[in-house]
C-alpha cells in the first residue's frame, strides 16, 4: 500500500517509510541480479534456491516478532530455542523414529523443552530490564557452550548419531538415515518449466510446497495471535509500558509469554531448517544463528521495537535472496574465492548496527 502513495510523498519520506535497510538491500539485490544475468548465471536456479532458503530460515526469523513486540528487543538468545529443537531431533532419532513420526516427535520434544526453558528465559529478561539485548546475546552464547558439554556427555546409544568411538554425539547428523531429509520440502513439491531427469528436476523453478506451507501457517498463527486479546496486550506493553501498566495489564507476564512463544518458534524453526538442509548441526553451529535472523527481520522493515509478520516475509526473502544471488556472482568476479561469508558478515552486522542507532532513549 505504501508504494502507491510514494509519488505524493517526498523521496526521503518514502524511504523512511519503507525503511532505509529495506531500500538499500532491495536495490543491491536487484543490482546483483542484473550483474548475475549478464554473467549468464541461470535465473531459475537462483529463484529456486532463494525460495528454498527463505522457507528454511523463515520460522527462525518469525521468532523475532513476539520478542520485539513485547518490548524485549530482537531475540538475540535464539540459540536457547535452537538447542531445544536440536535436542528434540537427536532424542527422536535415539528413540528410533523415522520419517513423519521422527519429525512429529522431534517437534513435540523440542516444543515441550522450549516452553520450560523459554519461561525461565523470560523470567531472566524481566530481571534485567534495560540491558535485554546484551544479556540475551550472552545467554545465547552461554547455552550453546553449555550444550557443547552436554552433547559430549549425554549417554546416547544410537549409532547414527554418536561418534564411532568414545561417548558423545557427532558434529553433524545426517537426517536421510532416518528418512528425515527434505521431508517437508518434498511434500507436494512441484516444478515449473523444468524437466524430470532421473527423479530430479533440471532447470525450471522448484517450489517446496510443504516447506512454504508450514512457514505460512506459522506466520498466519502469529498474525492471528497478535490480533487476539492477549496478543494486543503484549504489544501494547511493548509500545508503552507505563500506559499499559496503568491500564491494568501485567507487562511482565506478557513479556514472559512472548519469549516462550519466541523460544518455541526457534525450536520448531531449527527442525524445519535441519530437515531442509539434510543435516542437524550440533556444537558451535547455533552460536551465530541469531544474528542472521535478527538481520533478516530488520531488512524486512522492522525496528528493534516494532515488528510485523509482513516484515518477516519480506525480510527473509530479501536477505536470503541477496545471499544466494551474491554467492555465484561474487565467484564469477573474484575467481577462486569465497566472498559470500564476508559479504554476509558486513551486511548482516551492518543492518543490526543501523537498527541499534535507531533505538530511542538511553543514556544516563
Amino acid at each position: 500500500m505504501e508504494t502507491l502513495n510514494e509519488k505524493k510523498l517526498g523521496f526521503g519520506e518514502a524511504i523512511s517509510r519503507i525503511g532505509l535497510p529495506t531500500v538499500i538491500i532491495g536495490i543491491f539485490w536487484i543490482f546483483i541480479l542484473i550483474v548475475g544475468v549478464c554473467f549468464g548465471i541461470p535465473l531459475d536456479a537462483l529463484i529456486s534456491d532463494t525460495i528454498k532458503r527463505a522457507g528454511m530460515n523463515g520460522i527462525l526469523v518469525l521468532a523475532m516478532v513476539p520478542s520485539i513486540q513485547s518490548g524485549t528487543g530482537p531475540n538475540f538468545a535464539l540459540p536457547v530455542g535452537i538447542v531445544c529443537g536440536l535436542l528434540g531431533i537427536v532424542c527422536a532419532i535415539e528413540f528410533g523414529f523415522t520419517g513423519w513420526g521422527w519429525i512429529l516427535v522431534a517437534v513435540l520434544i523440542g516444543v515441550v523443552l522450549a516452553i520450560v526453558i523459554g519461561y525461565l528465559y523470560g523470567k531472566l529478561l524481566n530481571a534485567v530490564k534495560g540491558s535485554e539485548m546484551t544479556i540475551a546475546t550472552y545467554t545465547g552464547f552461554s547455552i550453546v557452550a553449555f550444550m557443547c558439554l552436554l552433547w559430549l556427555m549425554l549417554p546416547f546409544q544410537n549409532k547414527q548419531i554418536r561418534w564411532m568411538m568414545g561417548t558423545g554425539l557427532r558434529e553433524t547428523i545426517q537426517l536421510d538415515a532416518v528418512g528425515g531429509a527434505q521431508l517437508l520440502n518434498n511434500f507436494g513439491l512441484f516444478n515449473i518449466g523444468g524437466e524430470l531427469v532421473n527423479g530430479a528436476y533440471v532447470g525450471g523453478i522448484t517450489i517446496p510446497t510443504g516447506l512454504l506451507l508450514v512457514f505460512f501457517i506459522f506466520c498466519l498463527g502469529i498474525w492471528l495471535f497478535f490480533k487476539s486479546k492477549i496478543g494486543i496486550a503484549i504489544s501494547s506493553g511493548g509500545i508503552n509500558p507505563g500506559f499499559a501498566r496503568s491500564a491494568g495489564l501485567n507487562i511482565d507476564r506478557g513479556r514472559v509469554i512472548a519469549n516462550v512463544i519466541s523460544t518455541v518458534l526457534a525450536a520448531v524453526g531449527i527442525i524445519v531448517y535441519s530437515q531442509s538442509y539434510g543435516y542437524a548441526q550440533l556444537y558451535t553451529a547455533p552460536l551465530t544463528m541469531a544474528f542472521a535472523a535478527v538481520a533478516a527481520i530488520l531488512i524486512g522493515g522492522a525496528t528493534a521495537q516494532r515488528a510485523k509478520v509482513s516484515h518477516v516475509i519480506i525480510g527473509v526473502f530479501l536477505f536470503q535472496g541477496l545471499l544466494t544471488t551474491a554467492m555465484p556472482v561474487a565467484n564469477e568476479i573474484f575467481k577462486g574465492t569465497d566472498l559470500s561469508e564476508t559479504l554476509r558478515a558486513v551486511i548482516q552486522n551492518g543492518v543490526i548496527l543501523y537498527a541499534l542507532t535507531q533505538v530511542k532513549g538511553g543514556g544516563k
Binding site: 538475540f76 531472566l124 530481571a127 534485567v128 530490564k129 534495560g130 540491558s131 539485548m133 546484551t134 544479556i135 546475546t137 550472552y138 545467554t139 552464547f141 552461554s142 550453546v144 557452550a145 553449555f146 557443547c148 558439554l149 559430549l152 556427555m153 568414545g166 544474528f291 573474484f334 577462486g336 574465492t337 566472498l339 561469508e341 564476508t342 559479504l343 554476509r344 558478515a345 558486513v346 552486522n349 551492518g350 543490526i352 548496527l353 541499534l356 542507532t357 533505538v359 532513549g361 538511553g362 543514556g363 544516563k364
Partner: protein, 437 residues
C-alpha cells in the same frame, strides 16, 4: 549504637561483599579446585604459562578501563583496535622490517589507524547511547567483515602485490592464514620487545613484592601523619597484603639463594612489564587531570555533566579513541609475543577474553580499576591453564575441559552483566517505592 546493630551491619556488609564479588569468588574456587583434582600439575609449568599469558594480555585488558569510567560500559570494540594493530604489523612485515625499529614502526603506524577507527566507533556509541555494549559487540563483527574483505580480496585484488611474497597466498590474492614474524636476530618481529631485557622470574617477584611492601608502608606512615581515619577493614587488608608481600619476598630470596627448581621458570620480559606499568600509571594520572574528571562525571550522569558545561559526546569519543589505540598497541605486544600472526583468528577472541578477564577481576559495567584488570588477568588465565587439566581428571577428556572453558568465558560475562543489571533494577525499584511512601 549498641554492639548487635554493628554486628548486623557487618553481616549485611559481608553478604553484599559476597554478591558483589561472586564472579571472582567462583573463579578462585574453580582454580583452587583445579589444583586439588589435577594431581601433580608442575608448578614450574603453571607459573611459566601464567607469566607468559600475563605479559601477553595485560596491556589489552588495561585498555578497557577508561571507557568503563566514562560510562560506556565494557568496550567489546577493542577488537577493532586489535585489527588496527594487526594491519600495522602486516604492513611492517610486508616490507620485511624487523627488530626494535620495526616494532616501533608498528606502534607508530597503528596510532593513526586505530585513532581513526576509535573516532568512528565513538561516533557510533554516541548514536546508540544506552546500548553501547551490544553495539560494540556488533561493531566488532561488522569491522571483522571489512577486515576480511581488506586482507582476503583488496590485497592482491585491488592493491597489486607480488604473488611470490611469503605473506601472500600462492595465487596472488589475499594474505595467508598465518604470517610468520621471523625471529628478531634474523630481522624479524618475534619477541622483538620481549628480548630486549629479560629477568629471572623470581627476581621479578622479589622486586615487585618489595615495591608493593614499600608503597603500603609509605601510605601507612603518611596516613598516620595526617591522622586520616582508617577503617578496621582497610587495616586488615593492608596487614594481609603486607604479609603476602613478606612471604613472597621470603620465597623468592630462598629460591634465589638455593638456586632451587623455581629458578627454571621462564624469564620475564622487562620492557613489556614496564610498558604495562606505564599504562597503569597513565590511567591513574589521567584521572587526576581535567579530562579524567570529565570522564568520571560523564560516567556518573550525562545530564548533570552536560549541564555543568562538559561536552559529553566529545568526552566519550576521546575515551573510545584512547581505548582503541591502547588495544592496538596491546595487540602488537600480544602478536610479537606469539611470534605468528593468525591473520583471521587472532583478534576475534580478544574482546571476549579481555572483557571476561576484567569482569573476573571484580569490575562491572560501571566500575573498573587497574587492580581489577591485573588481578583479573592472573585469575582468568589460571582458569584457562587449569580447565583442560580439570577436564582430563574429572571428566576424563581434555576436550570437555576446552568446552567447559568456553562456557566459563561466556557464562562469566553473562552472569556479571546480568547481576549488575538485576541489582540496578532492584535499586531503582527500591528508590521508587521509597519515593512513593
Amino acid at each position: 549504637m549498641n554492639k548487635t546493630t554493628v554486628r548486623l551491619q557487618d553481616k549485611s556488609k559481608t553478604i553484599n561483599w559476597v554478591t558483589d564479588n561472586i564472579v571472582t569468588i567462583i573463579f578462585i574456587l574453580f582454580t583452587v579446585f583445579g589444583f586439588i583434582v589435577s594431581q601433580g600439575i608442575d608448578i614450574n609449568f603453571f607459573l611459566t604459562d601464567l607469566s607468559e599469558r600475563f605479559f601477553r594480555n595485560a596491556f589489552l585488558v588495561l585498555s578497557l578501563i577508561i571507557p568503563v569510567i566514562a560510562g560506556l560500559g565494557l568496550n567489546f570494540g577493542i577488537v577493532i583496535g586489535a585489527m588496527s594493530g594487526q594491519i600495522a604489523i602486516a604492513i611492517v612485515r610486508y616490507f620485511e622490517l624487523g627488530g626494535v625499529g620495526g616494532l616501533m614502526l608498528c606502534f607508530l603506524i597503528a596510532l593513526p589507524i586505530s585513532a581513526l577507527f576509535g573516532l568512528l566507533t565513538g561516533l557510533l556509541y554516541n548514536k546508540t547511547k544506552g546500548q553501547e555494549m551490544i553495539a560494540s559487540l556488533m561493531a566488532g563483527f561488522f569491522a571483522n567483515g571489512w577486515y576480511q574483505l581488506l586482507f582476503l580480496y583488496v590485497v592482491g585484488g585491488i592493491i597489486k602485490v607480488p604473488a611470490n611474497h611469503p605473506m601472500i597466498k600462492p595465487d596472488g590474492i589475499g594474505i595467508r592464514m598465518s604470517i610468520d614474524l621471523g625471529t628478531v636476530d634474523k630481522g624479524g618481529l618475534k619477541d622483538s620487545l620481549n628480548s630486549i631485557w629479560e629477568m629471572p622470574f623470581m627476581w621479578a617477584v622479589l622486586i615487585v613484592a618489595a615495591t608493593i611492601l614499600a608503597i603500603i608502608g609509605i601510605k601507612y606512615i603518611l596516613d598516620r601523619k595526617k591522622n586520616r581515619k582508617i577503617t578496621k577493614f582497610q587495616n586488615i587488608m593492608s596487614i594481609i597484603n603486607m604479609s603476602v608481600c613478606v612471604i613472597m619476598i621470603g620465597i623468592s630470596v630462598f629460591a634465589i639463594a638455593t638456586n632451587s627448581k623455581l629458578m627454571n621458570i621462564k624469564e620475564i620480559p622487562v620492557i613489556t612489564a614496564l610498558l604495562i606499568i606505564a599504562l597503569c600509571v597513565f590511567t591513574e594520572l589521567i584521572m587526576k587531570t581535567k579530562l579524567g574528571q570529565d570522564f568520571k562525571s560523564v560516567g556518573q550522569n550525562q545530564h548533570i555533566a552536560e549541564v555543568s558545561g562538559i561536552n559529553v559526546d566529545r568526552t566519550r569519543i576521546i575515551a573510545v579513541i584512547m581505548s582503541t589505540v591502547f588495544a592496538a598497541w596491546g595487540m602488537i605486544i600480544y602478536v610479537q609475543d606469539m611470534g605468528t600472526l593468525n591473520t583471521y583468528n587472532a583478534h576475534t577472541n580478544i574482546g571476549l577474553f579481555s572483557v571476561a578477564s576484567i569482569l573476573v577481576g571484580g569490575a562491572s559495567t560501571s566500575k573498573a580499576s587497574i587492580k581489577h584488570a591485573i588481578f583479573g588477568v592472573i585469575l582468568f588465565n589460571s582458569m584457562f591453564i587449569m580447565s583442560p587439566e580439570i577436564g582430563a581428571s574429572v571428566f576424563g577428556s581434555p576436550l570437555l575441559g576446552e568446552y567447559f572453558r568456553t562456557f566459563m568465558v561466556y557464562g562469566v560475562i553473562g552472569v556479571a552483566l546480568g547481576l549488575y543489571a538485576w541489582k540496578g533494577n532492584k535499586k531503582g525499584k527500591l528508590t521508587l517505592e521509597n519515593m512513593e511512601q
